[in-house]
Amino acid sequence: MFDQITEQLPLFFSYHNLVFILQAAGRTLSMTIIGCSVGFFFGFIIAVIRQSSSRPLLIFRLLSIVYVETFRRIPFLVILFIVLFVIEPLMPGTSLFGIATVSVCLLSTAFLSEVIRSGLESVPAQQIEGARALNFSALQTLVMVVLPQSWKVIIPPAAAFIVMFIKDTSLASQLGVIELTFAGKMLVNRGFSSVLGFGVVLICYFALSYPLSRFAAYLERRLASS
């Protein structure tokens, strides 16, 4: 086994293979970044809707509860399949990368909205009442009172979830998106030892998510003490 690996090493780490792996890593990363940005945006809206107590928003509140509870309880693989089978007939010609990114968005919206909601809830109710007594509008209360205090609670678990989404994108290889896991499979299919192929992919994933989880742990320590 080791003879085979050492024999293949120079061929494996040729320039074009490295470019191929780096491009795949870039695709993994961009799926995660797009998914998380969209997830933060819509997750924030959902969290604010769930926090509000106005009557006209009741229907949206119910819908967002249903959305969050559904998508937190479906495996990512099944979300991928559903999105594939729904988008493909509606918009033929959508790239597989787009389908996978939409799935990551759906998943991250559900999870990040819960994180943001617990952050918003961490602000004591008296402060919101106080802001209302000072004639702050709802938007002003959110921007000037709630958010400055809640981002500390939001960021550390959100970073942990982003690490989870990086790992979840590996399932998109099953659709045929050429991201890291798929690149590993292709290299192994081309005859490289599977220890080498999947091992390098594993190291790439580690290199992507380890700095982020260290950052999350650092923030948690840093923000907890203050």
Partner: protein, 224 residues
């Protein structure tokens, strides 16, 4: 767009799919307890261990929590035969998910181990409590309160995570859904039904876990 949804085709296969749900639950159950076994050792090593065992436990946790379970199982399934170990797809999935669960449960259980304060244990000893009494009345309430909710969330996560076993040909819920959809060609209906089964299954799991927690450990765990 003139597509008529035909759910009857899927509902014919419902018993087969529900059997798959049972397999998913079994995978989650086995990996949970095996992972908890690893996790107890890991947590104790991380909190009370010597330098070497601490180092080993924390590098195990960082490695397994920062890499995808799918690729780990790929390595177990496709790379171990090079070293002369041939695993069946089911055992590769079980081993991979167990190692993964062990890493996460180490972190969860560590929080529980930390939550017991040494001064409280000393106070209990000073009051003349026996070891069993200390475990029952001093340690367990603290541990249960800190780790019960994350543990039940993690069990739900394992039920969902077991879906990747389908990619190795294990016939659990997602695997059977793939089988059904390739046979009846009603893919979107089949996967909608399967998603609903997953939602119902996990809601049942977390509400029964919350009930057990409330009755046995007096922990107020939220379902939603």
């Amino acid at each position: 767009m003139d597509y008529t949804f035909q759910f009857t085709e899927v509902f014919k296969e419902l018993p087969y799919l529900l059997g798959g749900a049972l397999v998913s639950l079994q995978i989650a159950f086995i990996t949970f307890w095996a992972g908890a076994f690893i996790g107890i050792f890991g947590a104790v090593a991380k909190v009370y261990g010597q330098r070497v065992s601490k180092r080993i436990a924390s590098s195990y946790v960082t490695f397994f929590t920062n890499t995808p379970a799918l690729v780990q199982i790929f390595l177990l399934y496709y790379a171990l035969p090079d070293a002369g170990v041939l695993l069946s797809s089911m055992s590769a999935v079980l081993i991979g998910l167990t190692l993964n669960a062990g890493a996460y449960l180490t972190e969860i259980l560590r929080a529980g181990v930390i939550s017991v304060r040494r001064s409280e244990m000393e106070a209990a000893t000073a009051l003349g409590m026996s070891r069993l009494q200390i475990l029952r009345h001093v340690m367990l309430p603290h541990i249960a309160k800190t780790i019960y909710a994350p543990l039940s969330n993690f069990f739900v996560w394992l039920v969902l995570g077991s879906s990747l076993a389908a990619l190795f040909g294990v016939e659990e819920l997602t695997g059977r859904a793939i089988n059904v959809s390739t046979a009846n060609l009603r893919s979107s209906e089949t996967f909608t039904v399967v998603a609903a089964i997953y939602v119902i299954l996990t809601i049942l799991a977390s509400s029964s876990l919350a009930l057990v927690g409330r009755l046995a450990f007096r922990v107020k765990a939220k379902v939603f």
